[in-house]
Each structure stands twice: as C-alpha cells, then as structure tokens.
C-alpha cells in the first residue's frame, strides 16, 4: 500500500492505494466521489472521463499512483462556485441531453475538454469529439445540441427538428 496525494476539485486529498488501484476506484471508493461512473472494462465507454491536469482522461485506464501530485477535476467539480449549474451542465439540461444520466458525467467532462481546444466546434467536430463516449439513451441528438449551445452556437438552427 502506498499513500497517494493529489488535488481533486481544488482540495488536496490523500489515500492508501495498491499498485493496481485505478484512478476511478480511487475517486469512487477512496473519496466517495461516485459521480465518475464505470460503464465498461475495456476503456471504451467514456463514463469515467475526468480531467487530469486539464486533459480528458479515462479514469478506468489510469493507475492512481501514476497520477500522484496531479490536479484532477471530476463532475462534482463542474458546477459554479455558488452551486448553480455550469455552462455545459446548464446546456445539457436545457436541451435534454440526458435521460438515465449514467453517461452524463463523462459526456460533460469530454465536452469541457473538447470546448477547451475547440471553442466553436461544428456538428461534425462534436460528433467526432464525443465518439469515445457511449450513450444508450439519447441517440446523441440532444447531446450534440447541448454542446452547440454550450459553445454559444444556435443549436436549434443547426439541428434538424
């Protein structure tokens, strides 16, 4: 067991880990941050996406010990300081970009990472940018609209209704 320290959602946190402890388990079990979800065992669904030092990372594919000292943001850290929904979160609600909510944390984190490098993506760029995140409920229609809206574009005009 090794003690690992990192900054999660602005707080410095430590926990004992085994070498095989994944970042996802560190967050969910060690820190009770259960907003990060586990949807697969082959790193292909994106439900577990968090930001590590500003990069979108599948937390199920990273050992906690390998990101010791890093700055991590999870879905729990995405709301505004006053607790209200952040821009991306609000756009997902406004455009009904979620149903069961299970893929949602990963979608929001991937969207944030996408918009950080491409602030006004086209529909095609959004679809391509989110193809590491599986949603079984929404058919992606409203997720794409939400991302358009979150990037300040006219979602209704760009999406067929």
């Amino acid at each position: 067991m090794t003690k690992v320290t990192m900054t999660v959602n602005g707080m410095s946190v430590s926990a004992q880990t085994e070498g095989r402890t994944l970042l996802s388990a560190f967050l969910r079990e060690g820190l009770a941050l259960t907003g990060t979800h586990i949807g697969c065992d082959t790193s292909q669904c994106g439900a577990c996406v968090v930001h590590v030092d500003g990069q979108a990372v599948k937390s199920c594919a990273v050992f906690a010990q390998d990101v010791a000292g890093a700055t991590v943001t999870t879905i729990e850290g995405m709301a505004n300081a006053d607790g209200s929904l952040g821009v991306i979160q609000a756009a997902f609600q406004e455009h009904h970009g979620l149903q069961c909510g299970f893929c949602t944390p990963g979608m929001v984190m991937s969207t944030a990472a996408l918009l950080a490098i491409n602030p006004k993506p086209t529909v095609e760029e959004i679809r391509h940018g989110l193809d590491g995140n599986i949603c079984r409920c929404t058919g992606y229609h409203n997720i794409v609209k939400a991302v358009l809206a979150a990037s300040g574009q006219d979602a209704t005009a760009m999406a067929a209704e």
Partner: protein, 791 residues
C-alpha cells in the same frame, strides 16, 4: 413564450440536477457499512457437466468469507417464466427450472456455478479465479444453431426434456387453413427469409445488487438495478428464496437505463440476499461489462420466413409467418411472451388484411437467455412486415407509398379487430404517412439522389409504417392468454398537511423522466405548482404494488392510476369544501386549485382544504375520515396503439459498402403528449437503437458457443458520429379512447419503426443502381453490403 409548466409543456427535467452534478444515487454508488463483495465463478464453456466445483481452493485465501455453489440452492425454488404458453397441440410449454447457481450442468458461457464473498472486491476476484481453476467441467458439444437444436434431440440443453423445443405456438390456429388456402389461390405471393439479429441491450449502467439482512427483525433489503422492484420482490421472495414478501424491501434507486434487460429477476439478486443472511453483513455485487454481455438477457434472435399474398395491384390478401425464436439456455421472465403475444398479435400491422397466421417455435440453445429488449416482439413483427411489403413492391413494380395507402385501415374503421385478435381503438395512418412524406421532403429526393450520384454515392429512400400494442395490459385478457401476473399499475397521492404533495408510483424511471412529467400532470389536475409535488418511485416500502416500467406502459397505465388517485383526492376535497363552505357537495366546483360554490364568490384553496383534512376542527368527522390521501389501481381496458411512419435516406459508398444515414424522419401518433421534449428524446434514442440494429449491432456466438462479441471492442454500439439528427413529429395525434389522459406510449416506437426503414433505404439505393438484391440481413455492415453488391 412557450408554456413552461402543465400538460403539453416541455418542462425541463428536475432529475437532471443530480445527474449533472455527480450526485445521482446508482446502486454501485451505495456503500453499506461493513459490506462484503460477491464475485461469481462463471462457466468458460457453453455446455458442460459439472464434475466438481473447486470451492476448497478459496478456503483460507485472504479475505474470503464464504463460498456458495449450486448445491446450496438445489432445494430452493426456481426463477419462473412469467407467461405460460401452450403449443398448437394444447401441451404446456416446457419450463426447465432456472436455478440461482448452476448445478449438474452449465448451459451457457457465463452461467454462474459458484460465488465467493470476500472482504474486498479484489480478494473476491482472486478467489473466484482460484475456484474456476480448480473446478472440473466436462465440456459437451454446444447447441448454438436453432435448426440444429431442433433436429438433434440427442444433445439437449436440458437433459430432462425430450428435445430442445420450448413450444410450438400458432396464432390464431383457427386462421391456419384459411390463410393456407388464401395463399394458395392468390395472384401473387412474395416470400422472404430473414433474420432478426441478436442484440445485447447494453444499458450503460451494468447490473448491480446489494443484499442486506437485519437479524433483529428478520427483514431483508435488496438494492438493485431493476425496472420493476415489486416484480423482483415477488419473484425473489415468493418463488426463489421463500422469504415472506413483507420481510423483503426492494429498492431500485437511480438506474442507468434498462431497455428491458433490467425487467427480469436474475440469480445474482438471490445470491446477495442469501449471502447477507449467512454472513450477517451487506453483500454487494457489481457486474463488469463483460459479465453484462454474457449474462444480461439478450434481445431479438428470430429466424423467419414470411409470405405476403396479394393481387397484382398490391392489395394484401394474407400474411403467413414461420419463426424460430431463440430463448437461450433458460427461460427469462418474459422470454415466452415476447416472441408470441408481443409479436404474433402485431402481424396485421396497420393494414386491413383479412388473413393472418403466425407460427413460432421457441428453441433452447447454449447461449445467454433471450428476452424483451426495447420494443420486444413488435420490432420483429414490424421488420418482417415492412421488409416483405417492400420486396413485394419491387417484384410488382408498385410504389411503396401507394401500396401502404391502399392497404391502411382508414379512420372510419376504428375500433377495428384484426385477424390476430387485437382491437385497435384509434389511429390515422394516412395522416402520419403524409406528414412523414412532407417532413422528409420526399418530393426533393430525386435532386438529392443526383447530388449524391455526382459524389459517387448511391442514395436510397426507405419507408416503414409501424404500429405497436403497448400500455400493457388488461389483466383479464392477458390472464386468458397465459400471464401469471396482473398488469395493472398503482399510485398513491398523499396531500400533506401543508398542501404539498407526495406521489408514490408503481412505475420506475430509469431515463423516462417520470419525476418531471408525472408532476406536470398532478400539478395541472390540482392547480398547484409542480415544484410542490414530489414523485416517489422505486422503493417497495414506500410505493403501492405496481408492475414497473417496460412496454411503454408508465404513463398509459401508471400515469392513469395516478390521475385516478388525483380525481379521488379532488372528490374528497369537494366533500370537505362543501362542509366548510356550508354548501351541497353537488354545488362545489374545483378548478385552478380552488374549491368554490357554484354561482358565488365563496371558495377555499387547495391548501386550505388540505390543512383542514389534517387539522379537522371544522370537519364532517361523522361522515368523513380525516386526511387527504388516495390510492388508485388502474387496470387498462385495452392495449394502446401508437403508430407512425418513418422515412430514412441513406448514402451507400459503392467502393466500400459503407452506409451513411443521410436523414431520418419520424411522424408518430402517440395520442396526447404530456411533455414534447421528453417524447422527442425517447424517439431519438429509440431510432438510434434501431439504426444500431440495422447497421452495427450483432451478438455473435461461434459454433462452440463462445460469445465473440463480448465487449465494446467487438460489439459495435452506435456512437455520436455514426448517426444523424432525427426529425420527429407527433402532431398527427388520435388520442387513446380508453384512458382519460388519452396517451398511448412512446418509449419503444423508435426502435420498432426504424430498422426496416434503414434496410429498405439501403436496398432501394442498391436496386436503383441496377443491383438486383432482394435482401441483406442486419446488421448492414460494409462487408455485408459490399459482398451483396459483388456477389
């Protein structure tokens, strides 16, 4: 400003707040103090005799608390099939016992024959591997192909049965001779052999269960990923473990999608309860995705021959279907009704066809159980019908739109009883077809085709017109047909003393948005703010006995129960108001949250009446109980019949066979719509699941019964860049006539109507390009399309 509350408004979802902030409460998010972890030991072979289980190997391993094997559950009950189906010869279906853990034999890859409980998940996992390594299973030849399963009676999935057939069902048997005769004498018969491909449901949240036992009271609690907690309680308590129902609470908290796969009771739920009792501590199990692939009930898997008899103008005379339906290794709870009453009864479609007969043989194989998956039987029916109609149009050189039009039932024909026994109440199939043609700009197709051709792409247009029966279901009718449960639903409306309202519903929301939409209905009925209404679901200790959510039934059945309970509250409120306002009950009016005396300005608000009911100082106590809480059970008089028309345009790359969906248009009739935003979202999701079936998804077992598509590396899920925006419309509404809300249900529509539209579009593209191709089985992957083009 669009309406922001009430019936018909696109109210934003209240459940989103927790899901968007990471504060949802899914089963695996829950940690009970002192919980132990279960890991299952699963068969690596599809069919085998268990010679010995290496339970000893785990003894003394770090953290191991207990090992269970099939022997431990030999004498408890089995997980039953929910419907008893009879064969054409009158014999009851074969119903082999489905144990908690396999003993004697393992019957599919992933079949659990032992479970280990340990202090930590990793310790349990390590011990499970040790047990697996130490177990001896003599492999038997796997039974995978349905035809072979029926032909070879010497090798059987269940040794105690004479062969691998579950039943051989005819619907309606009295139609058989007439249909045979009609087909024999018809001017034209189109025959089509097709496969409705096996799908893996893949709700994004893997199944999970936590068992708890409280020795002081003898109570149990099961927290589990279920679409219907009361049904699970009934099955696990009364049928499997023999626990009194009143000693078991089942909680389905936030559930990350179901699509059918979480309707059923699975052995893991019984195991965690039994283990919790033995160890006197909570026991948790969470599936890995690979376990979900191997053990969640799969969907579809039909092999069908359909014949359509018609005259040379395309007027339908008869449909005859022969289907083999895979039920897998064990009967899952709805496995027997899905290929029969949810499939055969829909084989008249939206058409005025006089003769219909359906024969379905269900077959045991060494594969995962197969059961209802979004649409459940109705996608299979729609696919067969809409594909054979499309083929007939091509054979006779007829226009697919005109052929639908001339065969559609017309609005003046309702109510209409089909030759396969359903009584459609309302519909206007011409209207939805016209709407789809308009929204899909069919008139502009030729120009778009030319533009595609200029890019070297083959463009095609496909049509599908669909109907389904949902709002499941009238209990007395389904009882006659073989259902072993009632299919009503229930709701309790509790007006609290301070005037806010708690509504406990039997339906379960795992993406359907009940917390928002049900509150819209109650708010509108009571004339109070939706924010003062709480919708409670998923906990058997809080809600009345309901049947949960599946079959697009939540609103049409449970929603109506809730509306009826609201009516009872209003009726009682009128009595209280009459007393307080010193008027006759008959003079009391209720609207917009106010009880008033007709023709006067005397009134009491909803809140004042509620307060008076709980603080009954000025109250007719001699004739009326205090309190303001009502429960209603609602058993529908009929199914509901949503219907619609879907148009798909595709572009096929002739060099690679890759299909791109260029556009997808839906015109649906769902009856009255409570929240258009939610309804549209349901259609988007359903359509994309149908596109997944048509182009991408296939559950493949090899001849040894190994699942080749056991992860997201090999099973192609639709991703954001595989699909288009979906144009949806629900304006052609013919409200349901037998529920007061006038609703029909929308959850499955997209998955039912879309696969044939996609396949018809691809075949249209290929045939327009001069390729004479009658049919390609789904999924229409590049290799299948390319191979068909270059055959």
């Amino acid at each position: 400003m669009p309406k922001d509350h009430g019936i018909g408004a696109s109210v934003k979802r209240r459940e989103d707040i927790r899901f968007l902030t990471g504060t949802g409460n899914y089963t695996d998010d829950i940690t009970i103090h002192g919980q132990a972890y279960a890991v299952f030991v699963r068969s690596n072979v599809a069919h085998g005799r268990i010679v010995s289980v290496g339970a000893e190997a785990a003894k003394g391993m770090p953290g191991v608390l207990a090992v269970f094997t099939g022997e431990d559950f030999k004498d408890v009950g089995g997980n039953p099939a929910g419907w008893l189906i009879k064969s054409r010869n009158g014999e009851a279906m074969r119903e082999p016992k489905r144990p908690v853990l396999a003993h004697g034999k393992v019957r599919h890859v992933g079949d659990a024959y032992a479970a280990v409980i340990a202090q930590s998940y990793n310790e349990a996992k390590t011990a499970a591997q040790a047990i697996s390594d130490a177990s001896v299973i003599e492999e038997l030849p796997a039974i995978v192909d349905m035809r072979q399963a029926l032909a070879d009676t010497s090798n059987r999935v269940h040794d105690e049965l004479p062969d691998n057939e579950c039943f051989d069902w005819g619907w309606i048997e009295d139609n058989r001779a007439k249909v045979d005769e009609a087909i024999k004498s018809a001017p034209h018969v189109t025959t089509l052999n097709l496969i409705n491909n096996r799908l893996v449901p893949n709700a994004m949240e893997p199944r999970a269960s936590i068992g708890e036992y409280f020795p002081g009271t003898g109570d149990y609690k099961l927290t589990t990923t279920s679409q219907n907690p009361h049904l699970t309680r009934l099955l696990v308590a009364a049928f499997v473990l023999g626990i009194p129902e009143n000693k078991l609470t089942v909680v389905a908290p936030d559930v990350g999608g179901g699509f059918g796969s979480k309707i059923y009771h699975y052995g893991e739920e019984a195991l965690v309860l039994a283990a919790a009792k033995k160890l006197k501590r909570a026991v948790k199990w969470t599936a890995e995705r690979s376990e979900s692939f191997l053990t969640d009930a799969h969907g579809r898997d039909h092999v069908t021959k359909i014949e359509l008899a018609c005259d040379l103008e395309g007027n339908f005379i008869a449909f005859r279907t022969e289907t083999m339906a895979n039920v897998g290794a064990y009967l899952s709870n709805f496995a027997t009704v899905t290929p029969t009453f949810l499939h055969g009864t829909l084989m008249a479609g939206p058409y005025k066809v006089p003769n219909v007969y359906v024969n379905v043989k269900t077959v045991f194989t060494n594969t995962a159980p197969v059961d209802a998956y979004r649409g459940a039987g109705r996608p299979e029916a729609t696919y067969s019908l809409e594909r054979v109609v499309d083929k007939m149009c091509r054979e006779l050189g007829l226009d697919p739109f005109e052929v639908r039009r001339k065969n559609f039932l017309t609005p003046d024909m309702f109510p209409y009883t089909t030759p396969v026994g359903l009584a459609y109440d309302t519909g206007n199939y011409h209207a939805t077809l016209d709407k789809a043609i308009q929204l899909g700009d069919v008139a502009g197709f030729e120009a778009r085709r030319a533009a595609s051709a200029a890019k070297g792409k083959l463009r095609g247009l496909g049509l599908s017109t669909w109907i389904e029966a949902c709002g499941i279901a009238p209990s007395n009718l389904v009882g006659i047909l073989g259902a072993r449960v009632g299919l009503y639903d229930a709701a309790t409306v509790r007006v609290n003393a301070t005037g806010n309202v708690s509504v406990m519903v039997g339906a379960h929301s795992h993406g359907q948005s009940h917390e928002t939409v049900f509150a819209q209905i109650v708010g509108a009925m009571f004339g109070i703010p939706e924010g003062s209404i709480e919708i409670v679901h998923g906990d058997t200790s809080k809600i009345p006995f309901g049947m949960g959510s599946y079959g697009s039934r939540s609103l049409a059945v449970c929603g109506q129960a809730m509306a009826n309970a609201c009516d009872k509250v209003i009726a009682k409120g009128k009595k209280i108001a009459a007393h307080m306002l010193e008027a006759n009950e008959g003079e009391i009016l209720f609207s917009d949250g106010v009880f008033s005396v007709s023709g006067t300005n005397r009134s009491k608000t909803f809140g004042e009446i509620a307060f008076s009911a709980y603080v009954p100082h000025n109250y007719p106590l001699a004739t009326l109980e205090p309190g303001l809480e009502e429960t209603a059970f609602y058993d529908p008089a009929n199914f509901t019949y949503p219907a619609g028309a879907y148009i798909c345009e595709v572009e096929v790359d002739p060099d690679t066979g890759k299909v791109d969906i260029a556009s997808f248009t839906c015109a649906d009739d769902f009856g009255n719509v409570m929240n258009p935003m939610v309804v549209e979202g349901q259609v988007h999701g359903g359509v994309v699941q149908g596109i997944g079936q048509a182009l991408l998804e296939l559950g493949v077992y090899d001849e040894n019964g190994q699942l080749l598509t056991g992860s997201y590396m090999d099973y192609a899920m639709p991703r954001a860049d595989d699909v288009p925006f979906v144009t949806v419309d629900h304006s052609c509404s013919t409200p349901c006539t037998h529920n007061a809300l006038g609703v029909k249900g929308c959850g499955e529509a997209g998955a039912i109507g879309s696969p044939p539209a996609v396949v018809n579009a691809v075949l249209d593209a290929l045939n327009r390009a001069g390729k004479k191709i009658d049919h390609i089985d789904m999924p229409l992957t590049p290799s299948r399309v390319w191979s068909a083009m270059n055959a």
